[in-house]
Subunit: 280 residues, 2 copies
DNA sequence: CCGTCCACTTGAACGCGTTCGAAACTATCT
DNA sequence: AGATAGTTTCGAACGCGTTCAAGTGGACGG
């Protein structure tokens, strides 16, 4: 009896905006419609139960989520019990489960928050830089910095994310706004560089998702990284970004055409559909 | 207090990995659980507690593992309770935990068995074929076939494998014999092809591990694949293997030198050490 | 002012993974 | 045979995630 799908009303309050690739604005992106504090946004309403009907309801939900996030950080995920969260928030366990179907779903709060913090931070940091490799390195390093405080229980999160039956997976979840935000950031990483105009349009459309995959690899590396300040992952980023830039740059030349064509086909047919992107 | 490490005597001395005996045709009963080679412990011993001291001990261990694997396949991982395993095996729960530290560790049995079955099956299938792309496709398709029966609860296994704190992870576990076996298979996949003599020796040394990573990507794809008979993954293999072969083939040419050099450095410095391989 | 509906809240109870102290069994020595 | 030490087995008990039947309280219609 999998009630995971049935209990949720199925309606997602976030309506999809225009596809990523169709935007042709080379100038100011103006995608900064995101309020600065995402902690209490309806964006985090996802992953729970039905939509809130009351103000008080939403407050309770936010209270539980905030409390959970604080305790997770203080004690780690496993050692934070649902009873402790409920007690600390001053509600009952059942109430917590009224808003969050499973303990897992409380992690979503972290994921969302980090994604938005990362996007904002990276945009600021890469402003003024036009070299693509540098921009990419900034974007990835920014992620590592934003994620630093959560490294301790990242394992748990990653575990959850790797479960295809869980809607928290960055791969399988359809209409995951956080992923969309991240992909958009990489779109800007590319479009704001001097490399962008030189590229084949078709390839340029795929690249944001590919760069997001690059981030996923970095995340994988980061999760397993046990060096202080995840220095090894940072070094990995410093080494891999110039190479990625070079590969993309070389893709323009004739010798590489066949490979690039193959790769594009593979990505379009097998990778993007899997991660929930429907390229028409 | 994490007693997970302290309860275990420290290092579990794994002597060697031997292929799991081709199990009897029908009766999976514990009737032939005595290894003919005295100094060689079965591969299944890994992941549990201390080494068995008695013959009877080893029998009990095997009985529990066999029972667990059967129930996992019948009911799935989550729905198979430790109590059920113990009851079905005719032992107590405590006894099961005497041999297997956590329920997770019972999964290891699957992993080992599948790895050896795969290696054997792939070797048979690719005998007589010298085209590298074909050999690679055979190796990967063989894996999908061997893994087919476990697809249902593969999610759970993958979840566990993605946890860096778990010793079951194919990445972080040092001295994982199953991984070694798989890498060796890919070594033969390459060395048995007409491509092998043409390659740079240094690159040829890296390739088995890289091909294993290719398999890991296929596994990732497979876990999320919901199509019947994981047809989509099979198609993915058919498409990706010729491309991999072409890339490897092209790596010989001068134009690609710089990229190949970069890639080699990156892999040698960052990928292989992480997956427990120390290339000198 | 009462009844009805419904979002919200409660906490006891259930199932399962895991632990632990003690019993049972085996091997070895006196 | 008895004593001793080590190994294996047992099952009750614990903690935690999760469920569920039973409330509570406010809004609204009559």
């Amino acid at each position: 009896m999998d009630d995971a799908a049935t209990t949720n009303g199925g309606s997602d309050p976030i309506s999809a905006a225009s596809p990523i690739g169709t935007d042709g604005p080379t100038g100011t992106d103006a995608s900064e419609h995101r309020p600065p504090v995402p902690g209490l946004l309806p964006a985090e309403v996802r992953g729970g139960r039905a939509q809130p009907k009351t103000d008080k309801s939403e407050q309770t939900r936010a209270l539980i989520l905030e409390t959970a996030m604080r305790l997770f950080q203080e004690r780690g995920y496993e050692k934070t019990t649902m009873r402790a969260i409920a007690a600390e928030a001053g509600v009952s366990v059942g109430n917590a489960y009224y808003y969050f179907e499973k303990k897992e779903f409380l992690i979503q709060g972290f994921y969302d928050r980090m994604t938005y913090e990362h996007a904002a931070d990276a945009r600021i940091r890469m402003a003024g830089t036009t070299d693509f490799a540098e921009r990419l390195e900034i974007a990835l390093t920014s992620w590592i910095d934003c994620a630093a405080e959560y490294h301790e229980f990242a394992a748990q999160f990653f575990r959850t994310a790797a479960d295809p039956t869980s809607s928290l997976s960055p791969f399988s979840s359809e209409s995951h706004p956080a992923r969309k935000t991240a992909v958009e950031l990489f779109g800007e990483t590319l479009s704001g560089s001097e490399l962008a105009p030189k590229l084949d349009a078709e390839l340029a459309e795929l690249l944001p998702d590919l760069l997001w995959l690059h981030l996923m690899i970095v995340v994988l590396y980061w999760v397993f990284d046990r060096t202080p300040d995840t220095e090894r992952t940072r070094e990995f980023v410093r080494r891999s970004t110039p190479m990625a830039a070079r590969i993309i740059n070389l893709s323009r030349f004739r010798v590489f055409r066949p490979i690039v064509r193959d790769a594009k086909g593979l990505i379009q047919d097998f990778i993007l559909p899997t991660i929930g992107r429907t390229t028409k």
